[in-house]
């Protein structure tokens, strides 16, 4: 099962996903997809280092699936985190830009 690593950005508090260049992005679409236990462990360890460096808060992995090239978390809690509050479409992550580090 594929995973991505998520956290909240320390400064803004906003949801971020780890990218394959060890950066963090507000979009799950550009997150690094970790497809086996080994890469997941490696991704988590890099993320923990970022947490230790006080860039992000609350690192954990999220299960995702890719449909037609679109990355979608499998659990609805994580879908909400990825997309923003369902009651405020104007604040959805598609229209919202979080500066990638």
């Amino acid at each position: 099962m594929a995973h991505v690593i998520t956290a909240n950005d320390l400064k803004t508090g906003l949801v971020v996903y780890q990218t394959d260049d060890n950066g963090w992005s507000g979009s799950v679409q550009v997150a690094e997809i970790l497809t086996d236990e080994k890469t997941l462990a490696g991704g988590l360890s890099r993320a923990k280092a970022a947490e230790g460096n006080q860039l992000v808060v609350g690192v954990y992995e999220v299960e995702v699936e890719a449909n037609d090239g679109e990355v979608q978390p499998t659990r609805y809690r994580e879908r909400l985190r990825a997309h923003g509050p369902s009651t405020h479409p104007e604040f959805s992550r598609q229209t919202d830009t979080v500066e990638a580090r």
């Binding site: 949801v15 659990r75 609805y76 923003g84 009651t87």
Partner: protein, 556 residues
């Protein structure tokens, strides 16, 4: 209204500067999240699902137009242009940046507001009846006593690390509009047979995963002993309340495990030691605080003038709003008006900055600059001249806030749920919106009558689902949103904890199920019965049989 004195001002200013330093150290990496978290929580700052969230206290729900304008300014400058009124007379901002929070707190301090003790295991914002000071049926203005407790509890060094959070609510009426029976300590201001003022002290109420009604610890406590007695309660709780399990750490569990008599013995013993200490309230201090809540200078006016009667006669929509959202004021010729923050399909408790500014203007024009926030997530203008009600209603109508639904089916309490909250197991707000849309027809709402609908997105019950006439609890069933329905709860003077009707219902079916329950009520009800009355008379069976046909054998 209460005005800060020099101590309040310096205390809030000092705390803001302390937090500024803590934030700077966090951003510089000198504090880890584990070190910083308790510090931010003590200043009302959470890290939620999408972002940080700042919770600002509105003590006993009373605030001014100037304060509301400041909240609007903060929503615009530091957040995303809106705020959310909660079920505990607080307002939450959902998108602050960490580095901005000290400036937000400094701006709040300018208008005598803060976020101290809106989180953490301490004494939280003290709440009260939103109609305190203006409703005819009260014994006294409970805000005097709520303010005394607020001052005593603010940064109280002994009670900063309690086993768990601790909530006070005050009421001074027969009618409980503050859910006092579901607070850690509920205080009802009353008079004894000699006519002396004092308090009934109830303890151990609460919702969450273990809903319990408070029990009376003392039937009548003379007013001068308020602080010494509650200090005795807090000391006993602080010493022997459980710290081994956070789910068993609230005082309700202590009351349950010890029994009210044993707890009473411990409290009385402690009280005996401290009742004549400095905590005994001096007359002049009570008088000084009371002066802050002295009624404004009212004009001499008549009730039910021909002009007011003509507006009611000529405009059915206005007349309907008066019927649902306006309550009689203790002062002749004045009225108390509830501004519903529950327009059809709206987010309960959400107000945009622009709307806040408009409501602040209305408070200045029509309510001597004063407002109240209610635990049911509405606002109140407490001092409206009856002759001004029509102009007020017209202005609210233009803003979309004249929905005549106070106390009706669409006046729904809903916690933020999984749309915002990191603890939630399901969403609350969209269900509230769908119910409100299904029952948008005002005639139908009026026909259904008083109905308290309360929705929580998790077992922590911020949406008070246990005490809804109909309560909904969002749960996760194998990754899907389901809703467990409870019937027959009440947070009012006829307090009860509701009963779960049956298995949880899928999100797409829950509004239909809700409507089925309403249909059962309409077919079963006797003349003049509210939903709650009918439920109490006929019990769960007819509702259950209709909602789950053929699935349950219900004894006749």
């Amino acid at each position: 209204m209460y005005q800060y004195d020099e101590f309040d001002h310096s205390l809030v200013a000092e705390r803001t500067e302390q937090f500024r330093g803590q934030v700077a150290r966090r951003l510089a990496g000198d504090l880890t999240e584990d070190e910083f978290k308790p510090l931010r929580l003590m200043n009302g700052l959470y890290l939620q699902l999408h972002a940080y969230m700042l919770r600002v206290a509105i003590p006993y729900g009373t605030f001014s137009s100037a304060q509301l304008r400041k909240l609007a300014h903060i929503a615009n400058k530091y957040d995303r242009g809106y705020g959310h009124f909660t079920t505990r007379q607080n307002i939450q901002f959902n998108w602050p940046k960490l580095e901005d929070v000290p400036d937000m707190l400094a701006e709040l301090a300018e208008v005598e507001m803060h976020a101290i003790q809106t989180s953490g295991n301490c004494i939280r914002n003290v709440t009260a009846d939103q109609f305190a000071g203006v409703i005819a049926d009260e014994v006294d203005d409970s805000r005097t006593w709520a303010e005394i407790v607020r001052q005593w509890s603010t940064l109280h060094p002994e009670f900063t690390y309690l086993p768990r959070k601790f909530k006070f609510a005050f009421s001074a009426s027969e009618h409980d509009r503050a859910a006092v029976r579901f607070h850690d300590i509920g205080v009802i201001v009353k008079r004894n047979v000699e006519g002396e003022l004092g308090f009934e002290i109830m303890v151990g109420g609460g919702l969450g995963r273990t809903p319990m009604m408070a029990k009376t610890l003392r039937r009548f406590l003379p007013e001068r002993h308020l602080l010494s007695y509650i200090e005795a309660i807090l000391r006993v709780y602080n010493l022997i309340g459980r710290r081994d399990n956070k789910y068993k750490a609230r005082i309700k569990i202590l009351v349950h495990e010890l029994g009210i008599d044993e707890l009473s013995g411990l409290v009385e013993a402690e009280w005996e030691r401290i009742r004549d200490s400095d905590l005994k309230l001096p007359e002049e201090e009570i008088r000084r605080i009371r002066q802050h809540f002295a009624p404004p200078v009212y004009e001499v006016l008549e009730d039910d003038t021909p002009e007011f009667a003509a507006h009611r006669f000529e405009n059915a929509a206005f007349n309907r709003w008066v019927g649902t959202n306006v309550v009689t004021h203790k002062q002749t010729g004045y009225a108390i008006a509830t501004i519903s923050l529950k327009p059809v399909g709206g987010v309960p408790g959400d107000v945009t900055a622009m709307e806040m500014e408009a409501i602040a203007d209305l408070a200045d024009s029509f309510s001597l600059g004063e407002l109240r926030a209610t635990h049911e997530q509405n606002l109140v203008l407490p001092h409206v001249r009856q002759v001004d009600l029509y102009a007020l209603w017209s202005a609210l109508e233009d803003m979309g806030f004249a929905t005549p639904n106070a106390g009706l089916i669409s006046d729904i309490i809903a916690c933020p749920g999984m749309d915002y909250c990191a603890l939630a197991t399901a969403r609350s707000i969209p269900v509230a919106q769908r119910i409100s849309q299904r029952f948008a027809d005002l005639d139908r709402q009026l026909d259904i009558g008083e109905l308290k609908v309360k929705i929580s997105g998790c077992i922590n019950a911020c949406g008070h689902h246990h005490v809804g006439h109909i309560g909904l609890l969002g749960v996760d069933r194998k990754g899907e949103e389901f809703y467990q329905i409870t019937l027959g709860g009440s947070a009012a003077e006829d307090a009860t904890v509701g009963t779960i009707i049956g298995p949880a219902i899928a999100s797409e079916a829950v509004v239909d199920a809700f409507e089925t329950l309403i249909d059962v009520y309409l077919s079963e009800r006797n003349e003049g019965e509210r939903f709650l009355d009918t439920y109490r008379r006929v019990g769960l069976a007819p509702f259950k049989e209709t909602l789950y046909p053929g699935k349950f054998h219900v004894a006749a």
